[in-house]
Structures are given as structure tokens and as C-alpha cells.
Amino acid sequence: MAEGGVARFWREIPQRYNLIGNKCGSCGRVFFPPRESCPYCRRKSIGKMKELKLSGKGEIVTYTIIHAGPENFKEQVPYPIAIIELEEGPRLTAQIVDCDIDDVKIGMKVKSTFRRIQEDGYTGAIYYGYKFKPLK
């Protein structure tokens, strides 16, 4: 049976599995996900963007506890979602795991971990990616 949508996910495996971003060869700014060019350096950055694997270490900038979750996440409700600032600079949005929801705080240090994010029903593909847990 033809299942759609897999290419979209497959294309992002380097980002979702390994936090591969990039760095502007002109100004040094780091981006995640990677950009085709630097919005600040613009044409000066063309051809100078260099792939960069991020460490996965960061800090929570803000968070919420999702109680009304999407269908694919209903077994995990309530779960924390946070905006995390990675030590290299970029921010991303991810779920916090291995943590009491009452312990989630702005400023908490976290580290990425490899988890199952979603699946396309019982017959479709499984999508893996990053979640973050407290850095002990």
C-alpha cells in the first residue's frame, strides 16, 4: 500500500537524529535547522555555509504542559513542551522527558535524547527524533 509523506520525514533525518545544523562562514552564526544562506550576511554567505553537529546540550527558555494533546500524543498527556536554547546559540522546540512535570523550570539544563516522536498509524512509518531530558 502506498504510504505518503515518508520523503518529507526522511529528508530531515540528519536534523532529527543528529541535530545537524550549519554555521555561516562569514559571520559565524549557527543555525538549526540549517539554512541555505545566512539571513544577515545574505549573498556573502552563499557557498560558505558549513554543516555543524550540535552537542544537544541546552537550557529551557520557556515551557508549557500540554494537557489537550494531538491524537498522536494522547498516551503521553500531560507532557511538557519547551523552547530550548542550545549551547551553540539556536533555539528549538521539543518535549521534555524523564522528568516530573512539576520540576520543569525556566533555566533548567537539558540534554537531547533519541526517542520515538510519532508514527503514521499502525501501518505507516515510525518517525524518530529528539526529545530532551534533564542534564544530571
Binding site: 520557556t62 508549557t64 494533546g69 494531538p70 491524537e71 513542551i81 522546540t93
Partner: protein
């Protein structure tokens, strides 16, 4: 650049309108506006339609053509364009209509906004609304649309001491206003305790911090200001139109608690109108969630950054306050048929400036502002209107 006036307004009731289809809603709002304007159909040069996701809600794209057809203009082959910017689709449609007249291209234009959200189940509606967020980097990982605004609220509470009570007061105020609006989805007052004890949606937001799922349509007729007198005595001028964008994702923003798109769209509008925030008598702002209204009154320059919660607490923005905000009931009480909202805001300001707002009338309303946001702040339009 010519001046532009609003010469007619119309809207359907907002709510769960099981009997009304997408086509019926659009025809109803459009015909009301055209009738109110006192124009003939053949005088309309073009149509602009704001609709966020007709494709996912009713399985129909190409709604520029559909609206022209449902309104009975296909046989005269009117130019009709659908505009999309998530929840700012209506505001963007207003701006496109405005620009087409200001530029001299058109003399009379109908702008409509429509969303028919209840033809799909609740889950599908929520998922469709989430397409306003970054699909790959926010929604995919489990962030819901209320979750994004909740994260703004958490940080706002952390940085400025805003409280859940202050957020709740936004909902109480808007319901009090909506109770006076015969078109509103919810026409009843609510108590602070009800809001505070409501089912959790995404901490710190509960059910009553969130605008509802709504069917509805709104329509306005725009006209070159120097021609307005040919049609009506009740014209109101759009004296400024501002628009700005920002990163799609909330995590890409400069400051999580500030919608820079609002700041820049407002700057553009104030500059064009040669006005400051102090000159505004009333505003319809985008309260998709209670925190959004608090950020809006800060980012539009009505109060200092961080003081939005206090302003609400001090009742500055109530119907009889010094700056009434969301006299229509806002998205919370009036309802939020996504694409229609931006146009409905113009309708409310027009009614206020005309003196036709009945029980919600603000005294001496001369200058009004409409603020429409897409997603968590990636798009914003600000329109300023003046009584003639």
C-alpha cells in the same frame, strides 16, 4: 496614493452554524455588506477573500473563485483573489483590498473573510489550526497551537510577574462585551472563578483562556474615499494599513514575549496615519488566547512592555475604560472563524465610529485600530480607521 473608505459592512452570526454551508455564509455576509453600502453589484471592481484553510476544513481550495460564484458575480467575471496568512487571512484580505484602491487600480472592492470550521471533527479542527505553526519544527514534536501561546504566557509571567488572574480577566471582560453583541458566539458573562478553574489545555492556559472553534463570515465594501459620498453618509476612512512578518516558529523570535510583527505593523500604520498610540480611542485586537491580548496592548504601544496584565487588572481596557479593547467580545466571546476575524474587526470598528454599536457603543469614538495576527505572531496587520 488615494484615501480609502469603508462604505458598507455585513456579517453572519458567529457560532456553530450547522445549517449554513461555506457558500451560504459567504453569500450572506457579502450581500449584507453590499446592501449596507447601497451599491449595485455591477459597480464592484474586485473581490478579496480571507480564508485560512478552506482546504482542510471543507476540502475546498480555489475559494476566490468560489466566493465570487456564490456571491453571483461569476457571469460578470469579477477578479477574485483568496488571501492566506493563517489567522491573519482576514486582515491581509483587507489590506489587499485597501492597496488595490489606494493604488488607483480599483474604485470599489468587496473584502470578505470566511471560515467554516465545524464540518470537520474537533481533532481535525485543532490539527488544522496547528498548521499556522511550524509543522516540521514545532507541531511535529507535539507542540499544539495553544501550547505555543502558553509558552509565551509562561515566559511573560516569569519576566513581568503577569498572573493567571490577569489572564483570566481578559476573558471575563471580553465575555461581558460579547454579551452585548447580537452576532457573538457566546452572549453571556462569565465569572473569574470559572476561567481560573476551567479544564487545563496547556499550562498556564485553560479552556476559557482560548478562543473557540467557530463558523462565520464577515464582509466590507471599500471605496475610494472621494467617491464614498455617492453611496453613503456613513462612510468611515481607513487611514493606515500596516503589515509585518516574523519567524514562523516561536523559538526563532527575538523575544518570546513580544510579537515583533505587531510592533512593526503598528509602527508602519502609526507612521502612515501620523498618529501615536495615545490617539487611538478603541481597538479590536487579536485575542486568540488571553495572553495574546495582553501582549497586543503592549506591542501596539498602548502600555509599556510587561504592563499589559496590570492594565487589564486596572480595568483600562473595559468598555468604559480609557481604552476599550475588543468591544465586540473579541475572538474569545465573539468567536474566531479564522479567516473572517480580520474582516469582522473592521466591521466592529466601523460600527463604533459610525455610532451604530448599540449597547457596546464607546462614546466619542473617532479613531479605531484593528489588529490581526497569524499563527504565534509570524504575520500581523494593523489598520487604523477614522470617523468622517
Amino acid at each position: 496614493m488615494r484615501d480609502v473608505a469603508v462604505i458598507g459592512v455585513g456579517l453572519t452570526k458567529f457560532g456553530e452554524l450547522w445549517d449554513k454551508s461555506f457558500r451560504q455564509l459567504t453569500a450572506e455576509a457579502g450581500s449584507k455588506a453590499i446592501f449596507d453600502a447601497g451599491i449595485e453589484g455591477k459597480e464592484i471592481d474586485a473581490m478579496y477573500v480571507g480564508s485560512m484553510s478552506s482546504g482542510r476544513f471543507v476540502g475546498q481550495e480555489h475559494v476566490g473563485a468560489l466566493v465570487a460564484d456564490a456571491s453571483g458575480f461569476s457571469h460578470v467575471h469579477i477578479p477574485s483573489t483568496r488571501v492566506e496568512g493563517a489567522c491573519a487571512s482576514g486582515g491581509l484580505a483587507v489590506r489587499e483590498g485597501y492597496l488595490s484602491i489606494a493604488s488607483g487600480m480599483n474604485d470599489v472592492v468587496v473584502v470578505g473573510g470566511i471560515e467554516k470550521m465545524n464540518d470537520v471533527g474537533g481533532n481535525a479542527a485543532t490539527e488544522t489550526l496547528a498548521t499556522a505553526a511550524d509543522q516540521e519544527w514545532e507541531a511535529f514534536f507535539g507542540a499544539t497551537f495553544p501550547g505555543l501561546y502558553a509558552m509565551i504566557a509562561t515566559r511573560h509571567m516569569h519576566d513581568y510577574g503577569t498572573t493567571k488572574e490577569q489572564l483570566a480577566q481578559v476573558a471575563v471582560k471580553n465575555h461581558a462585551n460579547g454579551a452585548l453583541n447580537p452576532y457573538a458566539q457566546y452572549q453571556r458573562e462569565i465569572k473569574l472563578e470559572t476561567v481560573l478553574n476551567a479544564t487545563a489545555v496547556a499550562y498556564p492556559l485553560g479552556l476559557f483562556d482560548c478562543s473557540p472553534v467557530t463558523d462565520g463570515a464577515a464582509s466590507i465594501v471599500l471605496c475610494a474615499a472621494d467617491k464614498a459620498k455617492e453611496y453613503t453618509d456613513k462612510a468611515v476612512k481607513i487611514i493606515a494599513s500596516g503589515q509585518a512578518s516574523d519567524t514562523l516558529s516561536l523559538h526563532g523570535r527575538r523575544d518570546i514575549c513580544t510579537l515583533d510583527s505587531t510592533v512593526y505593523a503598528a509602527k508602519m500604520a502609526y507612521k502612515q496615519a501620523n498618529l501615536t498610540p495615545r490617539d487611538i480611542d478603541l481597538a479590536e485586537v487579536h485575542d486568540c488566547f488571553t495572553i495574546a491580548e495582553i501582549c497586543a496592548i503592549e506591542d501596539l504601544g498602548f502600555v509599556e512592555k510587561g504592563q499589559g496584565g496590570k492594565a487589564v487588572e486596572n480595568k483600562i481596557t473595559t468598555l468604559d475604560g480609557s481604552l476599550p479593547v475588543n468591544t465586540s467580545g473579541g475572538l474569545k466571546s465573539k468567536g474566531h472563524p479564522v479567516g473572517a476575524t480580520g474582516v469582522a474587526q473592521i466591521v466592529e470598528i466601523a460600527l463604533q465610529l459610525r455610532g451604530d454599536a448599540e449597547k457596546r457603543q464607546v462614546n466619542d469614538a473617532k479613531i479605531g485600530l484593528a489588529h490581526n495576527v497569524g499563527g504565534s505572531g509570524a504575520t500581523c496587520t494593523v489598520h487604523i480607521m477614522e470617523a468622517v
